[in-house]
Every structure is written in structure tokens, then in C-alpha cells.
Amino acid sequence: MAHGRPVPSLVAENIASGYGSGLVVRGVSLQAGPGEIVTIVGPNGSGKSTLLRTIAGLVPTAEGRILHNGADASRRSAEHRARAGMAYVPQEREVFASLTVRENLMMGGFGLSRKQLAAALERVYSTYSILGRLEKMYAGRLSGGERKTVAMARVMMASPDVVLLDEPTANLAPIPTAKLLQEDVPALASSGVAVLLVEQRAIQAITVSGWVYVLVAGKVEVEGSPEQIGDRRDVGAMFLGRGNPPTTVVPPVGATSE
């Protein structure tokens, strides 16, 4: 455990999970605390997305525990975890395509009273100024960057304390990528949220992070501060560089991290 990390609001203790009988995540421990951006990097197929889906509750935890604010969430449903303040933005299909932008936001604030909903809408509209212009549009018609903004705004409606972001820049052009990683994600963290970020654009993500886990074949191979990770030449060579130069890659169409 390093110095200077916040008291964690999310802890994964030696979790294993997968689909069917095969385990994709094989004993991962990690943590994230308020205000912290924690990034998970690693080659394609290393289990990054499965790890996030497990924490969100969409994939059952086969072994280990997930603690959310000290409570064991491992056996709780995804909807229960969401209501307890854990938000998740998938890599693809991150918005309800057949709902309008405003309806997407209302889904994000589903559990709120009418009064709270109005306040939450006002809050996210002021954080993300393009929403006002887009509100009546169907989310399926938006550009990649706009979809990510709507997805971020949707999860912020419920004022979560943990946000899981799965490759938010996967299909984004350079300018929206930079805006997301250098403005939106840090803003989220500085509002006191623990951000757990899976990123393919490792170097850009690591520079804004407080802590980094390198996941290889379902296990944490290396962890450390961005400086520590940057100093390790082997990390770049072995994990980040494999087949995908991390700073420039736009994944081929149809490719996902799993």
C-alpha cells in the first residue's frame, strides 16, 4: 500500500470471475478512494472489461469479495449496487439509443424524487453545456463524443461515489479524447468521486491517474503511481506495447477489449 492514497470506497479482494466455466479475472485485488483516478491498463484480452463488469455486478463474482463503502457487495445485484452509489459506463452501448437524451438522464436519476430529479438535471446541464442543445435528440443519433458525454451525465444524475469507466475513449477522435481524459474525468474525481478507469490509450490515461494497475492474463502484474509505472521500461515493452502502440491506437471496427 502506497502513501498518500485516500481511504478506499471501493475495494476488490482477490476476485475471480468469468463466463461459463472459464475464469477471465483470476485473483485481482485493487482499491480506489474518493477523488482518486485509478487506471487499469493491459493488453487486449487481459480481463479489464470483465473486471469492471464484475465490480458493477453484471458478471457474477466467482471468488473473493467486493467492498463498497465497507459493505460486501459481492452477492448484490447490479441494480442494488447502482442504487448504493456505484456507477458504470460500458464501452459500447453506453446510452439508451432509442431514448432521447433527456430520457437517458431521467433513467440515470430514476430513483430520485421529482424535486431531486429537477435539481440533478440542472446540475448536469450546467456541468455539460451541450446537453441543453441535445436534450430532445435520440441518443442513437449522437456522435461518439456526444454519446460519451450523455453517458457520463447519465451516471452523474444519481450522484454516485464510485464511477467505473470502460474504455471511454475507444471510438473517439483525438479532441474529444483529450477533453474526456484531461477535463471530464479529472473534474469527476475532483468532485470527490472514486474513478476506476479502463483505458487502451494507456499513456494519456496514466498521466491523469493517481494510481495504476497493469492487468495481464487476468492478474495484476504491476501496480504503482504513474511515476513508478513510467520508470519501469519492462511495463511498456511487455504490456502496453504489445501489438498496440497505446498513444495512437484506434481499435479496429468490431474489436472490444474482451
Binding site: 455486478g57 447490479a78 440515470g108 435520440y138 444519481a158
Partner: protein, 292 residues
């Protein structure tokens, strides 16, 4: 004119049945091939409980309630048990075929192969347009259909339940991580679609005047054609599809022979599946699903 007016009456029934079916499929993702048998069962319950009453309002109340209960039991409890054990798609559709046959043959076993008849009600001509007479039963059915379609529209667009239903139909995982339990939304979808199914059933049974244990099945294929014409899972599509199917079946009855009215609906169904499986309105969402 005759074709349009009687087409409108047929469309009213197809719209109620088709919207119920498409709403159910869209939200629960269960291809419920027992829907026709549930229509039949609702008529039986109404027929025996009310002592063959042809009072439409009482019939719709009893039939709607019967449909609601039966749909919940069949869909949420029985089919739901299979879904919770991980069955999906084709195997679920087979389960619903089994349920459908069980219902149909149970009804036949109980009462024998007889045709039930409602006492001929004193149907007064209520509306006479260009020499075509619609009786009060038919006019009521059309009005009820219009009211129900407006109600379905308002529920889907303006209520939280409607929002949750549309979200569940769109993406179950995303609905769950938004903190909404799809199981509850599905339970409500079974209830609501069951009510539509029951109301549709009694309007059909009393409209024809006679019924047997298979009445719902033929009707269901045609109502499903309406739903598919409009794009399965899309209530507004089913409304428009019902209008198209209603007028085409009436047109084929009038122009060719009444015997062809079901056949023309099935031809339409097959043609739609070949030419435009995504329905009349090909939206970006449907395109996306087909591509993905």
C-alpha cells in the same frame, strides 16, 4: 368504403392484440406463442363467469382481469422460471408452444369439442356511413381501441413505468446499472399486455358471436402479422401495422373471398419477413441491432 369501415373494425382488434403482443415481446424478450391461447382463455373465463353476458363493459372488465392474471402466471411465473434458469430464445419459444397446446387441449377436454355461442345481442345499428352499417358493438370496439392506444402512448411517453419499459426493451444491462430492476418491469409488462390480451379476446369473441378452444390461435397469427409489419417490439409500429393488416384482410375478403382473409394476412406476414424484417419504420435502433 365498406372495406375501410370494416377494416377499421378489424384493425381495432388487431391493434389491441398486436400492441399487447409487441409490448410483451419488446420488454420481456420472450416470444410468447401462447398469446393466442391466452386470448382464448380470457374469452372462456368471461363467458362462464358472467353467464354469457354480452355487456361489453362488463366483458372487458372480466376478460381484461382474466388476461392480466393468466398472462402473469404464464409469462412471469412459468416462463420466468425457465428464463431464470438461463433458457433463452428458441427454447423459450418452444416452452410457450407447449403451454399454448396445454391450454387449448385442457379447454377442449373440459367442455368437449363444442362451439360456444353468445346469445344474439340486440345489436342496433349505431353508425351508418355511405350505406355501411356498423353496430354498437363494432363502434364500441373501435372507440375502445383508440382510447387504449392513447393510454398506451401516454404511459410509454409520460410515466416512469413507461420509461423503464422502453429502457428495458432497449438494453437490459444498462437498465440494471441505472438501478432499475428489469424483473419488476417485466412483471408489469406481463400484467399490462395481459390486460390488453383479455380485452382483445372478449371483443373478438362477442364480436364473432361464437367461439371454440382455438379461436385465439388464428387471430393471434394475424395480430402477430400486424406487430411484425410494424416492427416487433414497437408499439406504434403495431398500431399502424394493425391498420394495414385490417384493411388488407377486409379487402381480400371483399374482392376475392372471405375464406382468403386469413391467408392474405399470412402472405403479408411472410412478405414482410422477407422484404422488411425490421418493420415499416426502420429506425436507427433496429438497424443497429441487426448490424450488431
Amino acid at each position: 368504403m365498406t372495406i375501410v369501415l370494416f377494416g377499421l373494425y378489424s384493425a381495432a382488434l388487431y391493434a389491441i392484440g398486436g400492441v399487447g403482443f409487441t409490448l410483451q415481446f419488446g420488454v420481456t424478450n420472450v416470444l410468447n406463442l401462447a398469446y393466442g391461447s391466452l386470448i382464448t382463455s380470457s374469452i372462456f373465463v368471461e363467458y362462464y363467469l358472467t353467464g354469457h353476458s354480452t355487456n361489453l363493459w362488463l366483458a372487458m372488465l372480466v376478460g381484461g382481469a382474466a388476461g392480466t392474471v393468466l398472462s402473469f402466471v404464464v409469462g412471469f411465473v412459468v416462463v420466468g422460471a425457465f428464463v431464470r434458469r438461463g433458457a433463452a430464445g428458441f427454447s423459450i419459444a418452444m416452452v410457450t408452444i407447449g403451454i399454448s397446446l396445454m391450454i387449448q387441449y385442457t379447454l377442449e377436454a373440459i367442455q368437449g369439442p363444442v362451439v360456444n355461442a353468445y346469445a344474439s345481442s340486440n345489436r342496433s345499428t349505431l353508425l351508418s356511413v355511405a350505406g355501411v352499417n356498423l353496430d354498437s358493438q363494432q363502434v364500441t370496439a373501435i372507440l375502445v381501441a383508440v382510447v387504449l392506444m392513447v393510454v398506451v402512448h401516454l404511459v410509454l411517453r409520460l410515466t416512469k413505468l413507461g420509461l423503464a419499459m422502453r429502457a428495458t426493451a432497449d438494453d437490459v444491462s444498462l437498465t440494471r446499472v441505472s438501478g432499475v430492476s428489469p424483473a419488476r418491469v417485466r412483471a408489469l409488462a406481463w400484467l399490462v399486455s395481459g390486460a390488453l390480451c383479455g380485452v382483445c379476446g372478449v371483443l373478438l369473441g362477442i364480436g364473432i358471436g361464437t367461439f371454440d378452444a382455438a379461436i385465439g390461435n388464428d387471430f393471434f397469427i394475424t395480430a402477430a402479422a400486424a406487430a411484425i409489419a410494424g416492427g416487433v417490439g414497437k408499439p406504434y409500429g403495431a398500431m399502424l401495422g394493425a391498420l394495414v393488416v385490417g384493411i388488407i384482410t377486409q379487402a381480400s375478403s371483399a374482392i376475392i373471398s372471405p375464406a382468403f382473409s386469413s391467408i392474405s394476412a399470412w402472405v403479408l406476414l411472410v412478405a414482410f419477413l422477407i422484404l422488411r424484417p425490421q418493420g415499416i419504420f426502420a429506425t436507427y435502433a433496429a438497424e443497429r441491432e441487426i448490424v450488431a
